[in-house]
């Protein structure tokens, strides 16, 4: 099921580069914003990254479903006329997981920076 379109539609970065970071992105956004709904998340990512990363619906909603199944996010619904808007927020377990995932990604970026010699090595 690992189809490219399922992950992240990229304006600049390759799909392979960002595979596996979507959960971290969503968790961090939910940590920084009290509660968000799907469309809002896609727009926030576009806004923050200045359109360089565009999360597709095909990537976002399966990820949100998985986060909910893992009890990392809580949901609440609001009725907009005939339709339901599902808001997501972090559960206590989700808050801990967010820190863990962000630290893991930051550490990975640091390692890649060293590995690819992207900054002067310390003397």
């Amino acid at each position: 099921m690992h189809l490219n379109f399922m992950y992240i539609h990229l304006m600049v970065y390759s799909t392979e580069l960002l595979k596996g970071t979507l959960k971290t992105i969503v968790l961090k956004l939910l940590a920084d914003n009290r509660r968000m709904y799907g469309y809002e998340i896609t727009q926030k990512v576009k806004e923050i990254t200045q359109d360089r990363i565009q999360i597709t619906e095909g990537a976002l909603y399966p990820t949100l479903h998985a986060l909910e199944a893992d009890k990392l996010v809580k949901t609440e619904v609001e009725y907009i006329g005939k339709r339901v808007r599902k808001y997501y927020s972090l559960s206590p377990a989700g808050k801990a997981k967010t820190k863990e995932k962000v630290n893991e990604l930051a550490s990975f970026i640091q390692t890649m920076t060293l590995l690819l010699d992207l900054q002067p090595k310390p003397m």
């Binding site: 469309y39 199944a69 339709r83």
Partner: protein, 172 residues
């Protein structure tokens, strides 16, 4: 911004269900997302039917229910699991069901040698071999079915053992 009528919202909701989305949460999310995008398009002068027809294929590659499959797949990734390539998966299973026959042959060879050994009852081994025929034949058929006949495990697929589902085929 334009607002969709109840009939239009119902139309989209029914179409999402008709596309094979059964998870209620996913239905709600997709309905809301699509409604927002269609309302934006209508606010810019677009027509509902055209906007919806153009929008819905952008959500998937082949079919909309791929989103549900992906959601279920991601949700199933819990606990110990093993992702095997197609070839390795079939090699393990075919090897497993072939092993009684090999064991039978080895016993025959040992029988010809003047050595003492513990031999399990032949009748038990014979019935084990008989019992393995059907699964072995089924596996061979599944393994060698060409892709054009829509096989259970297509070429380049991977097989996930464990997790929420016991066995899940993941297209490559």
């Amino acid at each position: 911004m334009a607002t969709l009528t109840d009939e239009q919202v119902n139309y989209i909701a029914n179409d999402i269900r008709a596309h094979g989305i059964r998870l209620e949460g996913l239905q709600d999310n997709l309905l809301d997302h699509i409604c927002i995008l269609v309302e934006q398009g209508m606010g810019e002068g677009g027509e509902f039917a055209q906007l919806y027809a153009a929008l819905i294929p952008t959500f998937y590659k082949k079919e909309l229910y791929e989103l549900e499959e992906e959601a279920l797949f991601l949700a199933s990734l819990k606990g110990p699991r093993l992702l095997l390539g197609r070839g390795r998966f079939f090699a393990v299973l075919i090897g497993l069901f072939l092993s009684p026959y090999l064991f039978y042959v080895v016993l025959d060879l040992l029988h010809a040698l003047p050595v003492a050994y513990y031999a399990p009852p032949r009748v038990l081994l014979r019935w084990t071999c008989v019992g393995c025929v059907w699964p072995l034949l089924s596996l061979l058929v599944i393994c060698f079915t060409p892709d054009r006949f829509d096989p259970l495990v297509p070429r380049h697929a991977k097989v996930l053992l464990g997790g929420g589902a016991l066995i899940r085929v993941c297209p490559g």
